[in-house]
Symmetry: C2
Subunit: 577 residues, 2 copies
């Protein structure tokens, strides 16, 4: 059986950074060459980052991307890496617009491609067939689908090449891999992390390998991009579904593996398959490689690592030096501070305690203790003297007055940001955002929301996991026990607790998951056995919170990890009863 | 030649309001029947409103919509309107998901349909073929395309039925209309207003009529829906391209017209065309109808009316009683106040002057004069005493201190909103938003931005048009002359003017149009003859304003009319040099 030494570059590209991304690919090519690899595959759009959204409709961007591909091939060759076959993901175009649109319509003028570089030239190209347009994906909006499968004969092996969604759909190019009798299927991906994604992705890769009787090499990018986190988890599975190699999640890695694949046969020609034969010199692959199979962390560890990576990359890719956040002594700000310290180091994290006349002594102590445990920069700015003149001049009471406290805190954090250039973190969790339990321009102010897709009950679980994880390693647990165990309170009036207003969090989160995430209607949720009155109350809170947001602002649209986009709804609409 | 009396219901649906929208259709049917019409066509998705976004992925919503169609047919019949053939737009489904997606993927389970109601039953259905997925449209995301053209034989005329985008694409169903030898083509639409849209839309309708040798009846919805304004402008054009009838823009209207159409022939069967014959009783059409051909207003009048309708419907459809906005004496807030008064009446508009120590006497006078000219509710809240303690406690200077002034104003407006339930209007124009010349959580605070898609130079033009329009009608011009003629200033420090920081507005707007709206790169714009240094400065302002927004918040995503969505870009990305 012919053998190929295969390298998968699980790298972290930055959208639009053509030079930097090309450097990353070159570095991976040097390492792959040093390891004796015959073939290197990068992730989907590794040359431009992913997703490029409407940049795919900008001709100057597409021209620059298109020029970068042969330039990369030439550099590889000039560095003596020309014998290494390199598969690189990038957009191709501009082409003639696909659609007849209205006057200003930005029609698709690009394809989502993988180019094959060899001996200084671009020797083949594949264009993605299936353009996902659901959940976080909008590819059909900006790309033109391809219609031809590419099969390359390399060192006696027929190697088929597809891109991400092509693997998920029955039929299409993946269906032709079997007919073409390919020995190896390479899939390049930009596949974002979702909770339990590995329970779907690995079985799919395995199933395709067995169905097609083909080794499948799956390479994913890694890193945070706005509200997405790509987790890597690149994997190679043999034709019997056994894992040959697996890269770690949440960090860059070059996965090198020797693949024994069926030799090229002489399958009858298959429609819409293009065959390319690549000459190859002597292989540099020598000796046996040590097995490289990473273990995945458990659910909480994966989530924590995703949150850390997402925040880190948002900070670094935007060029921020530091972050600032308000520390109330509560669980949400404590968890956000711990994520931030894990992401960029406590020395770049600034916490501000902003006690009001309603803040308990305990809350202040909890904030102090958190700052000390984490070792972040810490300051205290009492707000009573700033709130009083506003309340007095405007004659405010009730919720309008409560909101002024939160908004003065927003002003303080923004002033710190404007003075020092910090990114402001807003600490709202998914539950609070869904039911509108926050103040627009107050505690919701900020550029990045680390836990905006984490329900309250999961915030507690993550806090406990992170503390236990520290204790296991003999480190200081970052989160004060009291912040975890005390009843949550907004502390905007005396003796307030969240449960004065909201149902118990476990029940609330369960109903929200059905209503918001699973798009179930009121009747469907009641039919599952939830108390009708509570369902009405919760769904009305969600609806009312949308009304409240409309009054002050739609959003604010804050970046922050989204493990699957829940819903994209019209702003103005009447719900069913 | 057979004659059909045709009624087009240019109505204003509200998204999700199934009962209310059905009542609107019933009212139109009563009027159409009274006018002797044989056939009534409503706009695209008239039963649910448009766009429904991810509501199309919610099974309970689709079930309720699907049930509303036969219910409407039954009510029409019960009211004695069963002989009237009624075409109604609505989503159909839920169907089996179209895609194999990942775990939580909201896959398409609906079609964008037109149902034909007659004698109490649903007698035919057409599903839209071409699902636009560019600019403001995301239909391919949520709908499954149809694949069959519908031709109905009614009173001896073959009537073909298509939906909106189907008309814009060559080939597809519109190509089959000629082959099917239809005498009348009905197109139901949800076609949003854009500047100069009538210069594209009417020629298209005319061209299709002539190409297909068919009378074309084009019916559009009207009204504001979040960022979109549907302008109506329904029209009927004969097979020689002559306008037979045209509805006014920006208001509801029932357009009734007698159509002489080619009688049904016996064309050879055409692939993918379904033929349905509808029995008809005696026509109620008697006598001759007066011609009903509306004149369009000029460019500025159309824009003003679009802005007024968009704001009115945002207020009304969200159930707000009133609006509040800050009045600085400048042109932007003056124009927003005038739009608001035209939209909902001055009695529902609350203006707050919030002078600081840098506000000139002239500015206060201009704000006073505006309030008096418009007759809105007016109050004055000086901010000096509220800003001083914040500046002092935090030791602020420079931009950080300037921003506190704007943010205290934001707190005041939000306190008014929280106390009285007003919708807060934010008065930023498109130029200011593009270059970041505003304060996050300050003057950008608000739920609706009436002029967010109006460049500064156009704001002045609209102000002059509105004043001249008032004078023509012998009314008080709403906008003080001084607000139009004085140099614009943010008044956050002594003697500040916009032109200290920004290039002259005509030049700035010209470059922004190329960079933001037309997606031209820096080199492309310089090649057009613009000064390279100015282009660099402006494009860098746009980039820096995005960075600035990332620091404080992404957005805020504020609703406000968008006459074509400019760009949807990744938040984090590195631009080309």
């Amino acid at each position: 059986m012919p053998r190929l030494r295969l390298a998968l570059a699980q790298s972290n590209p930055m959208v639009g950074d053509l030079d930097g991304n090309a450097e990353r690919i070159l570095a991976a090519a040097r390492d792959a060459h040093a390891a004796g690899a015959d073939l290197l595959a990068t992730g989907e759009m590794a040359l431009t980052g992913y997703p490029i959204e409407d940049l795919a409709a900008q001709p100057s961007f597409l021209r620059a991307s298109a020029d970068a591909v042969p330039a990369l091939a030439a550099r590889l060759d000039a560095e003596g890496l020309g014998e290494l076959i390199v598969i690189v993901g990038h957009p191709d175009g501009p082409f003639e617009p696909r659609l007849l649109g209205t006057s200003n319509a930005p029609t698709a003028i690009a394809q989502n491609c993988a180019s094959v570089l060899h001996r200084g030239r671009v020797v083949a190209r594949y264009a993605k067939h299936h353009l996902p347009n659901y959940s976080v994906f909008d590819e059909y909006r900006v790309f033109i689908p391809g219609d031809e499968l590419l099969v390359m004969r390399i060192r006696g092996v027929d190697v088929a090449l597809i891109i991400c969604e092509d693997l998920w759909r029955d039929g299409g190019p993946v269906g032709r891999v079997l007919d073409a009798e390919a020995g190896l299927l390479i899939v390049i991906n930009a596949s974002p992390f979702e909770r339990d994604k590995d329970e779907v992705r690995l079985p799919l890769v395995t199933r395709r390998a067995v169905e097609s009787s083909t080794v499948v090499a799956y390479v994913n990018i890694v890193g945070g991009q706005d509200d997405l986190v790509f987790d890597g988890d690149s994997v190679v599975v043999d034709e019997q579904g056994r894992i040959l190699a697996r890269a770690p999640q949440f960090r860059e890695h070059l996965l090198v593996v020797d693949v024994q694949a069926d030799g090229a046969g002489d399958a009858a020609p298959v429609d819409a398959v293009r065959h390319v034969a690549l000459e190859a010199g002597e292989s540099g692959a020598a000796g046996a490689l040590a097995p490289d199979v990473a273990e995945l962390g458990d659910d909480r560890e994966q989530l924590w690592n995703a949150l850390v990576l997402g925040l880190r990359d948002y900070v670094e890719k935007n060029g921020f030096g530091s972050v600032v956040l308000g520390l109330s002594g509560g669980i949400d700000s404590a968890v956000c501070a711990a994520i931030a310290a894990d992401a960029i180091g406590a020395d770049r994290v600034h916490g501000v305690s902003m006690p009001s006349r309603y803040s308990s002594e305990g809350s202040r102590d909890d904030a102090d203790e958190l700052a000390e445990r984490i070792g972040l920069h810490y300051s205290v700015e009492p707000i009573a003297e700033l709130v009083a003149p506003v309340e007095a001049q405007l004659g405010l009471e009730g919720v309008a007055a409560e909101n002024v406290q939160a908004r003065i805190r927003g002003i303080i954090l923004m002033a710190e940001s404007n003075t020092h250039g910090h990114l402001v973190l807003t600490t709202g969790n998914k539950t609070e955002l869904a039911v509108g339990y926050s103040t627009i321009y107050g505690d919701s102010a900020g550029g990045f929301a680390p836990i905006k897709d984490v329900p309250k009950t999961l915030v507690w679980e993550l806090a406990r996991w992170r503390n236990a994880h520290a204790e296991l390693r003999g480190e200081v647990a970052p989160i004060p026990e009291n912040s975890i165990s005390k009843p949550p309170s907004a502390e905007l009036r005396p003796d307030q607790t969240d449960q004065d207003t909201l149902p118990p969090y476990p029940l609330l989160d369960a109903i929200l998951e059905q209503y918001v995430t699973h798009r179930q209607g009121r009747a469907d949720i009641v039919a599952m056995g939830y108390d009708a009155e509570t369902v009405d109350f919760v769904t009305r809170l969600v609806d009312r919170s949308e009304w409240k947001r409309r009054q002050g602002a739609i959003g604010p649209k804050i970046s922050g990890m989204a493990f699957g986009r829940d819903r994209r709804l019209p702003i103005t609409y009447r719900r069913l009863g």
